[in-house]
Subunit: 364 residues, 4 copies
């Protein structure tokens, strides 16, 4: 089968024919990849940025935002959880199923994590071996057995939901009890994650005002199209901060209170620092972006105002089902650019330069 | 001033001129009543149904859903909390401010409750003495001092929000963490409370499916107008139950799971009993209606399925502010029939016979 | 191997030699049963009370409170989750691992439940096949792999923790946010579950007053030994209720407020009804006992006081780990009567007549 | 009456006779001060450190940890909330009673805060005017009216509970849902706050392991006396960090997991930074100390491990009642050094030099 693999860090992926995979035990499932999203994490991995924290034996196939159809199925897979031909999304947070995190429903935080496309072979190939049917979400639910109502066939739209569309969902769900009438939520950075975050802020916000912050006019324009209520253009990190002006506008929008929840999809040192100066008393900052090196915040206002900071990572299986449920009910907008598998190095270059419109999706 | 008072239980209210009230201490405020909602609780009170649980010295002025303008103001009232002419809603759950419930933010559950229109003189009069500025919600917020953004002048629409519009809000807010994509919430009884409950289910439901249940086609029609997604006609309590058919439809709507949250705005013995047979595993029933005598439920499925039942009473001050915030932002629909104070006995008769369209509001 | 099996409902178990089980797939584990608790549920099952709701193909081996040692191990079991000779408890809520309940951490509520000793062969035998290593709790934790610190060898004490010791833990954990200084929690029925419930009320109660209610003096005496603070003798259900006297004593103990949380380990119609008359405003009743037919409660006080009722079933894997952690740290008292496997019918007779001191444990 | 007042910042307090205060309105109460705790905040205030953030008109009487007896009472004070001679604690977070924080139960976070001893005259005097009976906690509860059971007369022990004993209570209560069997909580800094924090960690920890960290052996010794389970000596901030050794010991204590909750009563830049390296996945850091300038944390592990940081300020009225309830039931240990009012400057000097054993309490 065709695949795109890392042979050495920092080099283009090698497009090559490799043997099709086989089932190794009865719980495994082989999925024919219908689409696999391309993500900034892939760039880090390919570039070797993580080679020390996640040591890998090369070559390896990256790609962790996967959707497709079941091609072959292990003998121990109960019928209701998958049959040949079923359209499926692949939940990427493969866990052991036993540790305290897995048993608590958060497999993506497993002590023995083995993520496809990051720690083991992923989706930039024609086929992928999914280590257990427990990691599949059937897209065409049959009654009683699965959660997704209605039918969903557009796997290109589903693939990015398994990460880019999942991470901001969890981030906002964590703090939804702080939202509601008269409250406000801001999304910092309207890129891959922020695009979905704005939409979830409307859905989970229970009528809270949704504020978009970005450095680029076209991103604020996009935020408007998908439902944000207010738009603040922040200055780029290199130039002079326009925080005082932003504070003034926030004060106007929130009747002097400040913002209740800020979700930082950038995670730069200055976006974090500045966000903490825009919060309402008791407010929360959720950080999902990983751009910067550190979190820095002045201590006294943090304690006096009882601020909170949450780190948020990816999402769990049930959260992925909820996100797919939204898509199945046509409550999410998508923005994709498709590439074939041989075009993947071109897609990588475009993504590096910030020139992909919406999410890049590889269609093998 | 003109007033409508109970002189003896079970008789029409006496429309009569009485002296205007005076301020008794520095924290009191006199409000010129702009509108006062008429409620089934008023019928109970007037009829003497509560004379044992709430003994009153007659005559007394009923009316507890009050909005209007500040007419006179005590000396100890800080300027930011009210000035003559300010439009205000009157929060009716007057509490002591000290007991564990008041200090916990739930004054409506105060150990020493003294509710206007129920335990002390209320709003079916030209003026009412509000015992403390702590019970006013300013409708035109000034920056930093109050929560309501924008301006609100239609006190007729605001008055019913202080009870009919507040009670279902609290009920649904209690269980909003159980709602979201792929979840469902049903409202039983699309009357005074249910009319608002449907709207809050959409706002707080985070994309949960909203199911309306009622015995009357026109009420289901109304539910459709205000945004419900599914409509189930239940048989009247006297006739043969159509529960098996309802269960089948619920199964279809929820892919065989059952309903996650049911809010019972009727509270009849059979609506409660039947609701518990429609719940999803782990589901919750919130009871706000008080029509019946008792709650009755089969034990084993209740325990095995980990069902929950919550009683919910009225709402607190902050919840009222949230409801008014929704109204101020034009996110609520209202349905009112106006009556003048001298017409109040006619309004009472119509309400008794179920012939008022929407909420009856007395405009003195 | 020796086993005790149901051949026909309502008859004594047949003690017989049957072939030792084999592994059917790579995730299974064979456990040599060290001890298996005997429970009222076993009586129901053996008596055929559940033959309609849970149809079984006889003969079958009951017994669902199992602890022992690993005898044989499937090839797909990762080394850190079990090796031959390891002491283990068997979590009995075997679930599919995929449905919303399993993925949410509550496998015991699985849509496709297959509980050992109830739906498939259980622990009244020398060996049991555990369907997946995901259902084992290793009692001797190795660093990083498992949660139980220290060493635990007394499997007789561990076996009953998997149900009798787990069910009240979950029940109280559900409402622990309502407990703390100045709060109170009552346990109704100091039998198999109540014995542990009292202890958890002290551990999770955060200094809340713990009140024991039972019909028998010796049970109240036992409650005292394990740490309860107050003791109320309720009249037996047949005779005249002494509720007025109980209410008076509750009022004295709680300074007139009523009890914040009541855990009903009996579940009779009258214990539920009476409990709801002893609650503080906003109080909760958690029902785990299944003695009665129905829940019955007066409606108006339920709504007005914002009472809550929760059904609670068994417990999940992480909760079982917490319970075992308590035992491993010598924070739980146990009370057991041991029987050999051939004595099981004698044990059943004694249990039926209420003549077993503490938990009956079968030691094959 | 005798008082100790700030006449100019940075100078010793002036001990002087001033007129006794009068009631200005009907809700006020005059309390004869029985004891008033001396706190590091007092040093800041007296030194003028806050003169810009809290501008004051001098002279002013500091002292915000106040307990005593009611001397005179306003006409609008309901009888059940206080009578002449009643022993009372003074809740110091005086709020407006109307803003969203006050109505939510957190008066100490009021938008219009007016704290005694910090913003208006406090307790280093023979008498204090309490602005409303809503800020009193009656120490001898009468049935139904108040929450404190039993009798409490030792006002010296109660006074410090209103701040030093309240702040760590709220901090730990915020995160108590993360505690329980198998969990761990660490207290950094066993000074005025930490002394109570250790005790609350045992009470609210639900059997979690309690770890004390301090630079001084005698403080770890003290932590042992009041119930901590583990003791880690951290190096002083100036010298070489011993974090690697601390990490190793934490790993041993927690079976390799890390600490679930850390409460930092110091708030230095290095204690915060180091704490974040000791947390378990999903762990929380609660900061109450205000020693440092800023919070600093490495970003990637913060997000990947889903850490949380909470600021926590003082406590609310109900929390104060809970703390006093613990004291009334003899569940708290106290450590005090008494000074007379004329000795206050000596007490201040000793406190500055860290030479007061336990809490300094001024007894006028």
């Amino acid at each position: 089968m065709q695949s795109a693999r890392i042979h050495s860090y920092g080099e283009p992926l090698v497009i090559e024919d490799i043997p099709e995979p086989n089932l190794l035990h009865g719980q495994q499932v082989i999925v024919k990849v219908g689409a696999c999203g391309l993500c900034h994490s892939d760039l880090h991995l390919i570039n070797g940025d993580w080679k020390e924290s996640i040591p890998l034996k090369l070559p390896i196939t990256p790609g962790h935002e996967i959707a497709g159809r079941i091609e072959e199925i292990g003998k121990a897979v109960p019928q209701q959880f998958g049959q040949i031909g079923d359209a499926v999304a692949v939940f990427g947070g493969w866990g052991c199923g036993v540790c305290i995190h897995c048993k608590g429903g958060d497999e993506q935080s497993c002590t023995y994590a083995n993520w496809p496309g990051i720690m083991t072979n992923g989706g930039f190939a024609e086929y992928i071996v999914v280590d257990s049917y427990r990691f599949l979400v059937k897209l065409n639910g049959t009654e009683g057995s699965q959660r997704i109502k209605g039918g969903l066939n557009i796997v290109e739209e589903i693939a990015p939901l398994t990460d880019a569309g999942l991470t901001p969902y969890r981030a906002i769900k964590k703090v939804r009890s702080m939202l509601g009438p008269g409250k406000s939520i801001a999304i910092v950075g309207i890129g891959g994650l922020g695009f979905y975050a704005i939409q979830y802020a409307k859905i989970l916000g229970q009528s809270a005002d949704v504020i978009a912050l970005d450095m680029r006019d076209e991103k604020l324009e996009l935020a408007k199209e998908i439902g944000a209520d207010h738009f603040l253009k922040i200055s780029s990190s290199d130039s002079q901060s326009n925080l005082p002006k932003i504070k003034e506008e926030v004060s106007r929008i929130t009747s002097g209170k400040g913002i209740d929840v800020i979700v930082d999809c950038v995670g730069a040192e200055n976006t974090i620092y500045d966000s903490l100066r825009l919060l309402n008393k008791g407010g929360a900052l959720v950080v999902v972006g990983l751009f910067g090196e550190q979190i820095r915040a002045p201590l006294v206002p943090f304690v006096i105002n009882e601020y909170k900071i949450f780190g948020s990572l990816w999402g769990n299986y049930n959260e992925l089902c909820e996100v797919i449920e939204l898509a199945a009910n046509h409550k999410l907008k998508h923005e994709l650019t498709r590439f074939s598998l041989p075009e993947i190095n071109k897609a990588i270059d475009l993504l590096k330069r910030g020139n992909v419109r919406g999410r890049a999706v590889i269609v093998p």
